[in-house]
């Protein structure tokens, strides 16, 4: 199958998936007890006023009609209005998304600059002392709650040195950078153990393959062997690994933004859930799911471009 057709087919498969995602998010509103209209007008409003708000929100229509309308609205980028602030959910997201992108960007750079060298070291020194040390740290790292790691960093780094704020995002770019370093480091510590595991496994697999043995027997120097053959072949799985962990990464962002009081979409979701702000919860949840779907899609397409053997499963 041609690559172009692969990409098209992959894109086509995304549509029903997104419809399912929107359905699930829509159902969250349906199963939530309580009357959203009552929440907007307050307890002392008259019955007529209540009915008026219900009608204006379309809450009196059949569920299927509401779902179809919701899909239509979402497709046009209309995510409704926050019960709390009255602002459009889309504008709340637009305001908060950059903070989360800062966090994810710095976090990924920190994570990869720790996990790639350690993963390769661990694979090269397979079952020797260095490998055991790396794996032991990985095992402990996997069990540390990231919010706790964040608090430890505040205690051991932010408070004694005074170089980094204990929370907030600041106003200017230098302040943003100072504010993002500890949260990004926390995110990196959360994701590094998982990345090392996968990187170690894929590098060991490449090292054990026939073409490496052949190349070695041809007398290619180890450094060149590493650069030309091992790393180049271990790289595509790395893309997939980073992509597959995106859900874990996003939840890490939710927790870490709350720990460091960063005004990103993760903190937005938590505040919305605490404040029972249903449209905002739906909007953020949908955004997170779309991010995951988009990253998987991108990873599949990148992998298909990098590796012509890839075919889509039936």
């Amino acid at each position: 199958m041609g690559r172009f057709r692969f990409v098209l087919k992959r894109l086509a498969l995304t549509v029903p998936l997104l419809l399912g995602v929107v359905l699930l998010v829509f159902l969250i509103l349906e199963i939530t007890p309580g009357d959203p209209a009552r929440q907007i007008v307050g307890l002392r409003a008259s019955e007529e006023k209540l009915q008026e708000v219900r009608d204006s929100l379309g809450l009196s229509d059949p569920v299927l009609t509401q779902y179809v309308r919701y899909v239509g609205n979402v497709a046009r980028g209309d995510l409704g209005y926050s019960y709390k602030s009255g602002r459009s959910v889309a504008s709340l997201i637009a305001e908060r998304l950059p903070v989360t992108i800062w966090l994810l960007g710095f976090g990924l750079v920190f994570a990869l600059s720790i996990s790639v060298p350690l993963g390769i070291l661990s694979a090269l020194r397979h079952d020797r002392a260095a490998d055991h040390v790396v794996r032991a740290f990985g095992l402990i790292g996997l069990t540390m709650p990231s919010f706790w790691v964040g608090i430890i960093l505040i205690l051991l780094v932010a408070l004694p040195t005074g170089l980094f704020p204990v929370g907030g995002f600041g106003e200017t770019v230098p302040e943003h950078i100072r504010s993002i370093i500890l949260p990004a480091l926390t995110l990196a510590i959360a994701i590094v153990p998982i990345q090392i595991r996968s990187l170690r496994a894929s590098t060991i697999a490449v090292l054990g393959s026939d073409y490496i043995t052949t190349a070695r027997s041809m007398g290619i120097p180890p450094s060149r062997l590493m650069r030309r053959f091992v790393l180049r072949n271990a790289a595509p799985p790395t893309i997939a690994i980073v992509a597959l962990d995106v859900g874990f990464l996003l939840f890490g962002a939710v927790v870490i933004e709350t720990t460091f009081a960063l005004p990103g979409i993760g903190q937005g979701l938590v505040l919305a859930a605490r404040g029972r702000d249903i449209p905002a919860i739906q909007g953020y949840t949908l955004l997170f799911a779309v991010m995951v779907v988009a990253v998987y899609l991108l990873a599949d397409i990148l992998t298909a471009i990098a590796d012509p053997r890839v075919e889509i499963e039936s």
């Binding site: 007890p33 205690l155 998982i194 927790v255 979701l269 859930a273 799911a289 995951v292």
Partner: protein, 289 residues
């Protein structure tokens, strides 16, 4: 994609399970070390009322935020409650949700995946397409939304865990059953004239389910960490119920002067997770060798 799923893919063994069961090898020592740690936590949870020096809910505002002393080995919190007693009682909630939060999805997922794989057709299609949609969400973000919709509380949290985490188990058992069905011993059983249902339940299922058990320890860790995270966010266990994640959150404002309030509960979480991870890694290595 959940962490459990990630680990599933990575550690799926290539050799058939039934061959592994025949030879008896000794479990690695770290399994026993991990089991000992977990056993201590279970004892603490079970005997919490006997072990805790104080009532974990008893308020004593006159003695709030006290430093550690002989009377209060880890001090008191902002409401004057004994931190040690709260840590001990929190083990009950955290262990309960950890174990049930891994077991319930395992049971539901295994059942649904097995039914799909046996019966095929629309059942299989419906299960797998639902699994696709659930997996499109970051696991815990969907859990936050579900817990919100179902109402805060332990039951909602367990229901939400089950609705989401069954997916990995369903996929695992499905692929195991589909793989085992093609093996010689199943062919032999079929040739011997055994009915399909009997072959599947007595010969395929027991061999397929072993794989699931290997992942349980790491999923207990994930469920415990999940509960702690939800409670830290203020969306999990309601106060004043003692819970490790909620205790870490409650201590954060006092990090400058009473640093032990946040850090000690974290160490307790890591200890429990480490015990289970040692068991999980050890068993996984044992089945692969």
């Amino acid at each position: 994609m959940s962490l459990a799923d990630d680990l599933t893919r990575e550690y799926a063994p290539s050799e058939p399970q039934h061959q592994l069961m025949v030879e008896r090898r000794r479990l690695p020592r770290r399994v026993w070390v991990g089991a000992a740690i977990v056993f201590v936590y279970i004892l603490v949870a079970v005997f919490a009322p006997l072990l805790a020096p104080y009532d974990p809910l008893a308020l004593d505002p006159l003695h709030a935020l006290e430093d550690p002393s002989w009377a209060h080995p880890i001090g008191t919190d902002e409401l004057g409650r004994d931190v040690l007693s709260r840590l001990i009682f929190a083990a009950r909630v955290d262990l309960l949700v950890g174990f049930l939060g891994a077991l319930l999805p395992a049971i539901v997922g295994t059942a649904l995946g097995a039914i799909g794989a046996y019966r095929g057709g629309w059942r299989d299609a419906l299960t797998m397409r639902t699994a696709d949609v659930v997996q499109a969400f970051p696991t815990y973000i969907l859990i936050i939304a579900l817990v919100f919709a179902l109402g805060q509380g332990l039951t909602s949290i367990l229901v939400a865990f089950t609705i989401i985490a069954w997916v990995a188990y369903a996929r695992l058992i499905r692929s195991e059953i589909l793989r085992l069905r093609g093996l010689d011993y199943v062919e032999a059983a079929r040739a011997a004239g055994l009915p399909t249902r009997r072959i599947l339940w007595l010969h395929v299922f027991p061999n397929a389910v072993g794989q699931t058990l290997v992942y349980l320890p790491s999923d207990i860790v994930i469920a415990t960490l999940g509960l702690a995270a939800l409670s830290f966010l203020g969306l999990g266990v309601r106060p004043p119920t003692p819970e490790w994640g909620a205790m870490i959150a409650a201590g954060q404002p006092f990090i400058r002067d009473q640093w032990w309030l946040s850090t000690v509960p974290g160490v307790v979480v890591v200890g429990f997770g480490l015990g289970l991870s040692l068991i999980g890694e050890g068993i996984e290595e044992w089945t692969r060798r």
